[in-house]
């Protein structure tokens, strides 16, 4: 199979495919920018941190790569409950990239090659390969496209415009035409990135320091808690990149805009690419430019900015919160109005980038195109934003591209199994108007998604699709047994005044649990087991409620809609619903029920139709 693009989606797709034993080719326009962090040098954070752990649970590379190239680790929401705690790490941008590049180079069944894909080659409704700028054609059974923001990428700095998907990089111009030719619709989105500054020109004494956690929460599940084990996994004889996770952490710095900054921005609003109507793409609500912030929240006196180091061996700093498309001279003036940045030297200006994306409702939940067989899409081309969102889709697309070639049922993660399931279902069912970023609030079963449970939640998928080696599967299975054993034990065994479980639920806080004198045998379990057990016991009522809800929903989720079902010819279906269904081609009745405008009686009619066809086509997922 062929993967076009080696960003965060592409590398996971290629690694997953190669690890499943498929002969894989990874094409990239520039081998030196593999897995580049185009925006801020950080992985994880709210919901995203949980996703990285899910990627790890499915055999992906992002987690371990972050652990060994991370330079600062923090657990967000530590004061809140486990379900909404998320690990986050600042990474050494270059180390992150180089280690991933090295991993790809060492991976069996995988070849990397530097060439820009110019066209896809189609044959009777299928993709069979691609052409490149070097006039070398490649052929494969399946193709995964992960071209990020490079499709007709156009960068704006004030009135200045440059073609490219990222500053200093190229733009994939002809590929868009190749999609249109196959009937794949494209639309425009916009995103932005702030300026980068030279560290030695900054006065950190005027800023607040933000340090990493003393005991870092890491992303990879296994062998990351003990240094010895880590190096066992890392096969230190072969790897030279990275360091012991959590060692020698560096700080981030916090400063704020001033009234002067606001004045500068307001006075120059008309020069901003976004405010002068230069940009047609839609930008994200959650990541507004500084122009937007001052206009939409005019009464907010100041805006917080984070200075994030880009690595150990560079003096470059990323200014989180100062994304803009104002011209360079205004950017400079604006930066200098901020405490600590008065003398700042700009290494790279901020810019906005517009790019083509293919509305993801044109995909099946396997991430295969509905229009072109054997063609898979993952990452920003699907309208998502974020490294973690891209990597998640890349992994799933890679696995499914192999499954497709082998005639095996696709990997489809349900909404109640993890954020990856929510992400893909939202994208393919509802589409998106802005670059889609994951929030915990998007998951209706958020309480089940504590980051520590990712490998238990996804174990069945990892097993079914052979994504983990046997050693690791055994470790997870043992953990699962231990967790289940202890939950049962605590619920059933008595102590003074009731069962252990009720005693645990009665006391509040971590300290309270300490006073319970839990059996030594339990206390000897590893903390990963104990944490999960305590979570399940303490929140049992809520988790039960979630599970009951899921059972109810899963009935329709299990009913697969035959792919060739002609919605328009179904009697009793309202015309409006039939058109919607024909457009979205839902995969299961559950998916159909989430399409806006389809009502319960339409679902009843569909259910009857499918059941009637059961003799032939209907089947359970």
């Amino acid at each position: 199979m062929i993967v076009c693009g080696a960003g965060h989606a592409g590398v996971e797709a290629a690694l997953a495919a190669a690890r499943m034993g498929a002969s894989t080719l990874l094409l990239t326009g520039n081998i030196d920018t593999i897995a580049q962090m185009s925006c801020n040098p950080a992985i994880g954070g709210q919901a995203k941190g949980q996703m990285v752990r899910e990627i790890d649970a499915l055999g992906g590379e992002m987690a371990i790569n972050t652990d060994v190239t991370g330079i600062q680790f923090r657990l967000l929401n530590e004061s809140k409950g486990p379900a909404v705690q998320s690990p986050r790490a600042q990474c050494d941008k270059k180390a992150y990239q180089f280690r991933l590049k090295h991993t790809l180079e060492l991976q069996a069944n995988l070849q990397i090659f530097q060439a820009t894909v110019t066209r896809l080659i189609y044959q009777s409704g299928r993709v069979i390969g691609c052409q490149t700028n070097l006039d070398i054609d490649f052929h494969g059974k399946t193709v995964v496209v992960t071209t990020g923001t490079f499709l007709r990428g156009l960068m704006h700095i004030g009135q200045n415009k440059n073609e490219g998907g990222r500053l200093g990089d190229f733009s994939a111009r002809t590929l868009s035409a190749s999609f249109l030719e196959a009937g794949i619709e494209l639309q425009r989105l916009k995103t932005g990135t702030p300026p980068r500054l030279l560290g030695r020109s900054l006065d950190f004494s005027r800023m607040d320091e933000q340090k990493g956690d003393v005991a870092p929460t890491l992303f990879a599940f296994h062998d990351t808690r003990s240094k010895d084990d880590l190096f066992h996994v890392e096969q230190s004889s072969e790897r030279r990149i990275g360091w012991v996770p959590g060692e020698n952490q560096v700080s981030c710095w916090v400063t704020y805009t001033t009234p002067q900054t606001a004045e500068i921005v307001r006075a120059n609003l008309h020069k901003s690419a976004m405010y002068s109507g230069e940009i047609e793409g839609i930008g994200p609500r959650y990541c507004p430019s500084i122009e937007d912030k001052f206009v939409r929240f005019a009464d907010k006196p100041r805006h917080m900015l984070f200075l994030e180091p880009e690595g150990r061996s560079t003096n470059e700093y990323y200014v989180n919160g100062l994304s803009t498309s104002l011209p360079f001279d205004v950017q400079l003036e604006m930066v200098h109005s901020i405490p600590g940045l008065e003398q700042a030297v700009l290494l790279r200006p901020a810019y906005a980038v517009e790019y083509d994306f293919a509305p993801p409702t044109q995909l099946f939940p396997s991430l295969e195109s509905k229009k072109v067989e054997n063609l898979f899409f993952a990452g920003q081309i699907n309208g998502s934003s974020g490294y973690e969102e891209a990597a998640s889709q890349g992994l799933v697309a890679g696995v499914n591209a192999v499954n497709k070639a082998r005639g095996v049922a696709p990997l489809i993660i349900q909404r109640h199994e993890g954020y990856i399931g929510v992400l893909i279902d939202d994208l393919v069912t509802k589409g998106t108007r802005e670059p889609y970023r994951m929030f915990t609030s998007r998951a209706e079963h958020r309480l089940l998604f504590n980051h520590g449970s990712a490998e238990l939640r996804l174990l069945a998928h990892a097993k079914n699709h052979n994504l983990l080696d046997n050693n690791r599967l055994k470790l997870i299975e043992t953990k699962k047994e231990r967790v289940e054993h202890w939950v049962k034990w605590l619920e059933q065994s008595s102590t003074i005044g009731g069962t252990w479980a009720t005693a645990i639920r009665r006391v509040t806080g971590q300290e309270g649990v300490g006073s319970l004198a839990l059996p030594n045998e339990f206390l000897r379990e590893p903390s990963t087991v104990r944490d999960e057990v305590m979570y399940r016991v303490r929140y049992a009522g809520y988790l039960d409620r979630e599970h009951r809800h899921i059972v109810k929903l899963s009935e329709v989720e299990k009913i697969k809609i035959p792919p060739n079902l002609d919605f328009l010819s179904i009697r009793g279906l309202r015309r409006e619903s039939a058109l919607k269904l024909a457009e979205f081609k839902p995969y299961t009745l559950g998916q159909a029920s989430r399409i806006s405008g389809v009502n319960p009686s339409d679902i009843s009619v569909l259910m009857i139709m499918i059941e009637a066809g059961r003799g032939g086509t209907g089947q359970k997922v």
Partner: protein, 451 residues
């Protein structure tokens, strides 16, 4: 095909007044439900007489019950048919009771769907039924939408928007812990939740009023034999509906008529006279009258103005209890001086003559006044919710209470959010599904997010 896990209930006969109201229950919990309701398990396919009692033991109706063991039933599942007296009010009450016992209101066509899935119907039969049901559900939907565009819709919009505002305020602190957000204000969250609870209660209170609007205010005429109850009914409805005679004990069976008084629909029921010293046979009739009194919204107690008031028997007094009661002092045309009748204290009295029509304006004014009082205080708009709405609102109400407790007890914010989402879902059952995007819209409009 997965087997349905829940038990559904709905009216199987068209809504409105028919001779018979058949309620159908279907699903795995049916046998247990039958045992709870009617004692030991009923033998299948045998129609039986039984008392239908509410959860709290109150008698609702005497009904005919038939139990069907799956697969030999309409739906192919264990099911129960309960036939009541075609009184929409009672049918509604029975349904509400079934929901309280854990049944879910059936979606349009759901019995048919189950029948089909269980192999009780072939496709063409099922399609025909679904066509019909679909047409009907479209109409129901249109009707519901009409209501949603009206007063109820406006109320729901306010409720949903307010809730989304609270949820956005809660979610912001979960999803954006790194942002420079204003300090969390749990106090104002608690206050808003309280306001939402009050407003939800108000809407819930219109549930009964909705029935009054649809079915009429149940007005029961009671009094001693020969007091002129039937005469009163006849004059109110404007024709000789009930037999009137100088013989006490003329009326034996209940007589029911509908009429409009002012802006209100009334269901007027004439009863047999309440003899303070009844013979054995009369006792049975009195029991029946007591049952009618129990269901009544409004009582008209007729007294003969020429007689000293007969003492009201203690059981009658107990039953009148807190019912809205109007005393009608009849036969005032026969009076020359003042009436020897001692009317019960604390009740409004109107003096009339059913024979001449004297005092009739006072009577209709008094009835209108009482009927107005049934209208719940919900501003000047007319809102009336149905049983399905009431079920959803009751769930919302529960969630709001639990959410507020979490705020005061300072419990983890994601649990609070979990309760609020439950409330949102319940509201969504009335106002249409509420997408998370709407919460995010509010969130990004309220807070400046984006480092």
């Amino acid at each position: 095909m997965p087997r349905p896990t829940d038990t559904i209930a709905a009216l199987a006969t068209p809504a409105g007044t028919a001779a018979l109201a058949v309620i159908r229950v279907s699903g795995p919990d049916t046998p247990q439900l039958a045992r709870d309701l009617f004692g030991n398990a009923p033998p299948p396919r045998v129609m039986r007489h039984a008392d239908y009692r509410e959860c709290d033991g109150a008698l609702l109706d005497d009904v005919l019950v038939t139990f069907f063991a799956g697969p030999h039933s309409y739906s192919g599942e264990d099911s129960l048919e309960i036939s009541g007296h075609g009184n929409p009010f009672i049918a509604q009450k029975i349904l509400e009771d079934l929901y309280a016992r854990g049944c879910r209101p059936a979606e349009p066509g759901e019995f048919t769907q189950r029948a089909f899935l269980n192999g009780r119907m072939d496709l063409s039969q099922a399609e025909a039924v679904m066509d019909l049901i679909h047409a009907r559900s479209e109409r129901a939907l249109a009707a519901a939408n009409q209501q949603l565009r009206g007063a109820l819709g406006r109320r729901m919009t306010v409720l949903v928007d307010t809730l989304l505002g609270v949820l956005a305020r809660v979610e912001a602190y979960i999803d954006f812990p790194e942002e420079d957000l204003p300090a969390e204000d749990r106090e104002s969250v608690a206050q808003t939740l309280q306001r939402l609870a009050v407003e939800t209660d108000r809407l819930l209170a219109t549930s009964h009023y909705g029935e009054l609007l649809r079915d009429g205010i149940k007005t029961v005429i009671i009094g001693a034999p020969n007091a002129g109850k039937s005469s009163l009914l006849n004059r109110l409805v404007g024709h000789e509906r009930a037999i009137v005679s100088a013989e006490p004990g003329t009326t034996r069976d209940f007589i029911e008529e509908r009429l409009i008084v002012g802006a209100h629909a009334l269901r007027l029921i004439d009863t047999a006279g309440l003899n303070p010293a009844p013979a054995t046979l009369e006792k049975l009739g009195i029991e029946k009258t007591f049952e009618r009194i129990a269901e009544a919204d409004l009582l008209l107690l007729v007294l003969d103005a020429t007689q000293p008031a007969p003492p009201l028997s203690p059981p009658l007094l107990a039953r009148i209890g807190n019912k809205t009661t109007l005393v009608v002092l009849n036969k005032t045309d026969l009076l020359s001086g003042s009436s020897p009748t001692k009317t019960p204290a604390g009740l409004k009295v109107v003096r009339v003559s059913a024979l001449t029509g004297a005092g009739w304006e006072d009577l209709t004014a008094a009835i209108t006044e009482q009927a107005d009082a049934f209208q719940p205080e919900i501003g000047d708009e007319l809102v009336a919710i149905n049983a399905r709405h009431a079920q959803a609102l009751a769930r919302a109400r529960e969630g709001l209470g639990s959410a507020r407790n979490k705020v005061t007890a300072n419990e983890p914010v994601e649990l609070l959010a979990s309760d609020l989402r439950g409330v949102l879902e319940a509201f969504g059952e009335i106002s249409g599904k509420i997408d998370n995007e709407r919460m995010l819209d509010q969130l990004f409009a309220t807070f400046c997010i984006g480092k």
